[in-house]
């Protein structure tokens, strides 16, 4: 990635995301490693991490369930979907289920407004949601993980 840019630092954000996808979260080791590779201090790296909502220094569940409740989704039942997930999974905002399978998060607009209500699980979009459809989606992920 680095040769794409006149400064090494520019590769930081995409590299952090890739590292997070590999490890699951941005651990102290990952931060130290990236800082040294890109000639930055760890503080500089942490400073960037804390700004972006997709980057996290805390472990999350295998599947990160992000439900949009912004305006287009809200008027089509986005909050009900979030509430449904919270009840079904037994967790609240940014909490992880005891089996480490799911983390639930309320998120801002994910660019699926015309297909609202919408949610994103890791990088997969799920659109035109209903409570029943959401149930099926969560069950499918669970099955996938235990297969």
């Amino acid at each position: 990635m680095v040769p794409h840019y006149p400064t090494k630092r520019s590769a930081l954000v995409p590299t952090l995301l890739y590292a997070q996808d590999e490890v699951g979260y941005l651990s102290d080791e990952v931060i130290a490693e990236l800082a040294s590779r890109l000639d930055l201090t760890e503080l500089e790296v942490r400073n960037v991490i804390s700004y972006y909502s997709m980057l996290t220094t805390k472990p999350r569940g295998k599947f990160n369930v992000q439900v949009c409740t912004n305006i287009s989704c809200m008027v089509r039942g986005g909050e009900e979907i979030l509430h449904h997930c919270a009840t079904k999974l037994g967790v609240g905002h940014k909490q992880t289920t005891a089996d480490g399978m799911f983390t639930l998060e309320e998120v801002e607009c994910i660019g699926a407004c015309s297909w609202a209500p919408a949610a994103q699980v890791n990088y997969d979009f799920h659109e035109n949601l209903t409570a029943e459809k959401m149930d099926r989606i969560l069950d499918d992920y669970k099955k996938k993980a235990t297969q």
Partner: protein
């Protein structure tokens, strides 16, 4: 994958290749791909800029500034390298159109960036895509690789003796990063906080070099202008508003979706004919015409032509093309609250009026919506929003204030209905309280 819709009134320019397999470079070539950039290579840079100017193309990212004009601000001579930066951050609530372009016609964006680079004398272009759009980044990265493999980008493009590199860059989630100077900071590997202007990006931009920043839809229009001619493009729209627009219809509408309609298409017709009207026998209450930052229009204000000037005249903005429809079962106070919750969450915190203002408004709206409002809150909310306007480093402060002012002014009665300790009288039975993001 986002599903496609269609309506007979659509005029397909940017969406012409949607659903036609144009992500494949050979298919894209069959569909007139990479012809425009070859034509542009034979043109003088000034001629390209003039063509884009005359087409009446205005920025599709929000402000609607003339694209040709923006390109003409880049200095001809520069000691530092120049850049073209495609803004694919797409984070304005209600907006989901760039997504379809990346999904169905990624090469059109590459071609647009290339033509922009030829016009301003840049040797490299960056395509920045929001981190949530991972599957689109994969499509774009493949498109770029294919274009390199064919020798369309890289060294000596089309045997012209010119070198032109195109790169992809991914974000990691932050609305503020869509703001042009914050976008550059983000691409440089920093927190996405805006820069003080002047100097403007056209003079001092990415890594200090002159930089043109355009929205993905804006750039995807450029190859069509070069091939079809500025007269043809200008005539598609209204005076000073060339071309078509991808309108994202969402909210309480029967047929939501992204439709490509001529600039100046009537909003009422868009809602009732293209979008199929308001479902479940309900009535229209309000429309946010161009993404969450635009002041809402009430049901009797929708006889308006959807171009930048007409919507501005009607007291709102065409913005990013996100048309959010709100029916009579929705509570405007809650809608305003959800809007403000977003801006509070996304404020970068640099300026006090934005950081504190959005926080204060969100808190007040929350208390108000739950039935703890005081009469003076209504005027206070309006006063505070009006005092945020124009007092911040970047337009996010305005983006938070403008819709609030309109909600309070146009739906004062709904605010008053929440008074006297009454919690929301509009809330659907069983609907939950907002959880905090």
């Amino acid at each position: 994958m986002a599903s496609l819709v269609s309506h007979p009134d659509e005029v397909k320019v940017v969406s012409k290749r949607f659903g036609q397999g144009a992500t494949d470079i050979d298919r894209y070539l069959e569909l007139d791909g990479y012809k425009a950039v070859q034509k542009a290579l034979a043109m003088e840079p000034d001629a390209i800029i003039n063509e884009v100017k005359n087409s009446g193309l205005r920025g599709r990212g929000g402000a609607g500034f003339s694209t040709g004009m923006k390109w003409s601000f880049v200095p001809k001579q520069s000691a530092k390298p120049k850049y073209v930066l495609c803004n694919g951050d797409e984070s304005e609530p209600g907006t989901c159109k760039d997504r379809l372009i990346f999904e169905h016609d990624p090469h059109a964006v590459i071609e647009g960036v290339m033509i922009g680079a030829l016009a301003v004398g840049a040797k490299s272009g960056y395509i920045y895509i929001r981190g949530e759009y991972r599957y689109l980044s994969i499509i774009m990265q493949k498109a770029i690789r294919d274009a390199y493999a064919k020798g369309f980008v890289g060294k000596n493009i089309f045997g012209s003796g010119r070198d032109l590199d195109i790169y992809w860059h991914g974000g990691a989630g932050a609305y503020e990063v869509g703001e042009e100077s914050a976008l550059m900071e983000s691409l440089e590997g920093k927190r996405g906080i805006p820069r003080i202007r002047p100097p403007f990006p056209a003079v001092v931009g990415l890594w200090g070099g002159p930089t043109v920043i355009n929205n993905a839809e804006t750039l995807a229009n450029v190859p069509h202008i070069i091939l079809g001619g500025s007269d043809w493009f200008a005539k598609l729209g209204t005076p000073k508003n060339g071309g078509t627009r991808l309108f994202c219809l969402s909210g309480n509408i029967a047929k939501p979706g992204v439709y490509e309609l001529p600039m100046g298409y009537n909003l009422k017709k868009m809602i009732y004919e293209v979008g199929g009207g308001i479902p479940h026998g309900r009535k229209l209450k309000a429309v946010v015409p161009g993404g969450s930052s635009c002041p809402c229009l009430t049901a009797d204000e929708i006889d308006v032509a959807m171009d930048f000037d007409s919507v501005a005249k009607a007291g709102s903005m065409l913005g990013s093309g996100g048309v959010v429809i709100v029916d009579d079962q929705q509570c405007i106070v809650k809608f305003a609250l959800r809007t403000m919750k977003f801006y509070k969450h996304e404020s970068c915190g640099w300026c006090i009026p934005c950081r504190e203002g959005t926080d204060w408004l969100e808190k007040t709206l929350t208390r108000f919506h739950r039935g703890g409002g005081m009469k003076k809150d209504i005027d206070n909310m309006q006063y505070l929003s009006e005092n945020m306007l124009g007092r911040t480093f970047c337009p996010l402060g305005d983006a938070a204030a403008m819709p609030t002012i309109a909600f309070v002014k146009k739906f004062r009665k709904e605010f008053e209905d929440h008074l006297d300790g009454k919690a929301c009288p509009y809330e659907k039975a069983g609907a939950m309280e907002l959880v905090h993001a």
